[in-house]
Amino acid sequence: MRKKIIPYGVQDYLPIECAHKNQLEQTILALFDDNNYQRVETPILEYMDVFSTGAGAFPQESMFKLSDNKGRLLVLRPDMTMPMARLAATKLKDQETLRLCYCGDIFHFFESEDSANLKQVTQLGVELMGVNGAKSDAEVVSLAINALKKAGLQSLQIELGQVEFFKGLIEEAGLNEEEGEAIRHRVEQKDTLAIELVLQKNGISGALKNKIMELPVLYGGREVLETARSYSDNPRCIKAIKNLESIIAELDAMGLSDCISIDLGLVQSVHYYTGMVFKGISDKLGYPILTGGRYDDLVKQYGRDIPATGFAMGVKPLLIALERQGNLGGEEA
């Protein structure tokens, strides 16, 4: 009998925590609303196909599966951006520019008993679809910064990256997807030794090898962009750097660039992201509070070819960071 307990990886929110959670969600949703982002809700249950094919596909084993009465596979949604892309390409296809926001739970099936992750996670996020360019990326990043500030988070830091810089180097090296993926994985871990081994195996040497091996240490302040620019003559890489410079210039104009740092080794889920990527971190927490970026190839999988950018933040990590810094009440930092 398991009548009095709940499964591993989920939680009850009792009155005090629940009140903080709701208040935080309302505060941030109000900010999204002020910025003309329309809130939508999508079902928790969706067809598995929505998430299981194309760029950024979730592996079967990472999803909670059920079936409908015709035996077709359904999942508890593992992601919020894909349903937003589905909406943009179908029911909202007449809107040229979409500013959507959401607050909802996603579900991840974890095999491991020792996981830092919950199986049910509440996410708040925005998607800006139908527009391209640094201005729209800056809009999304600024919204992320303002949301964290409004929540009361001090010492927040936004790490900016650009996956095109990485992709440019991989293209220059003539590596296929599998080899590129092997390197991406190592860059993500900043494991220079392993990168060198993969490059050697693929016969890449000289200047190009050195450039790729620099990736893990291309992080820090804006000077990183100078460094990166100084050694890349690859047009795709240069375009990526210019894009980041434009985004930072936009953020400068808004007075929001203080908390920006650069990491060109930020290459998480590179299949899904196609341009600028970013993470929101705090010295109060050992893992990111929010992640986001540009994903121009995603909406087209649902039948409408439009560019898009956005972010999602975990409500729980933000609550933990706020409590650790001692202002869970949510007063302005």
């Binding site: 392993a194 010295d283 927490l285």
Partner: protein, 210 residues
């Protein structure tokens, strides 16, 4: 700003402390002979904890420790989200498959190769990369016993000198990879504590070159 370091209790910790000392860190506040698990130096804003080797990645992944020193074998097994930034060179060994030197031929074989190991994840990915079905027998120590008492066909374990294998009538059949101590860093700390971590990494890099 306090810098938290997790070290693998035992030999690796001693070597790591030696390396830190070479880099100008005063390590006199750490008494390896005591039974204390946590050592703090307010002046240097440094806290060092001694934990079981297989727990180092957990402390660092969850951000309780900013930096850790742990063997590559442990990292491969656990596959945590960390920055694996430096190969410290010491603690060198090889991850190998080993089996009995003289195994009598048997007519009835197992469909699944029985592998005894402390590294079930490494074993699973190694054999699945060559499409071989295996039965993993997770052990916590004295893995060499497996083939001797008929519990397993082979073992997957770290081998340093090979002396233990030899004394137990086993021999290396295949090397999977080399392992040595790695310096790992929490993904957020590297950025939020950059002013502490970057210079330390730089000094360690220099010390390793000498």
């Amino acid at each position: 700003m306090m810098l938290n370091i997790a070290l693998s209790k035992g030999r690796l910790a001693k070597k790591a402390l030696g390396l830190f000392e070479k880099c100008g860190v005063d390590i006199s506040f750490v008494d390896m002979d005591s039974r204390k698990l946590i050592f703090e130096d307010a002046k240097q804003q440094l806290r060092i904890i001694l934990v079981k080797p297989s727990d180092v990645p957990t402390y660092v992944e969850r951000g309780v420790s900013d930096i850790g020193v742990v063997g590559k074998d442990t990292l491969m097994e656990q596959n945590k989200r960390l920055y694996e930034m430096l190969d410290l060179g010491f603690g060198a060994c090889r991850l190998c498959i080993a089996g009995p030197v003289n195994k009598p031929q048997s007519a009835i074989t197992n469909a699944n190769l029985r592998v005894a190991t402390k590294y079930p994840n490494v074993a699973r990915s190694f054999y699945s990369s060559r499409n071989q079905a295996i039965d993993i027998i997770k052990m916590n120590g004295s893995v060499e016993l497996g083939p001797l008492v008929g519990l397993s066909d082979v073992i997957l374990d770290i081998v340093e000198s090979g002396a233990t294998l030899k004394e137990n009538g086993l021999a290396v059949q295949e090397e999977i990879c080399d392992s040595s101590a790695r310096l790992v860093v929490n993904k957020v700390s590297l950025k939020t504590k950059a002013e502490r971590i970057t210079p330390l990494l730089e000094m360690i890099r220099k010390a390793l070159e000498v």
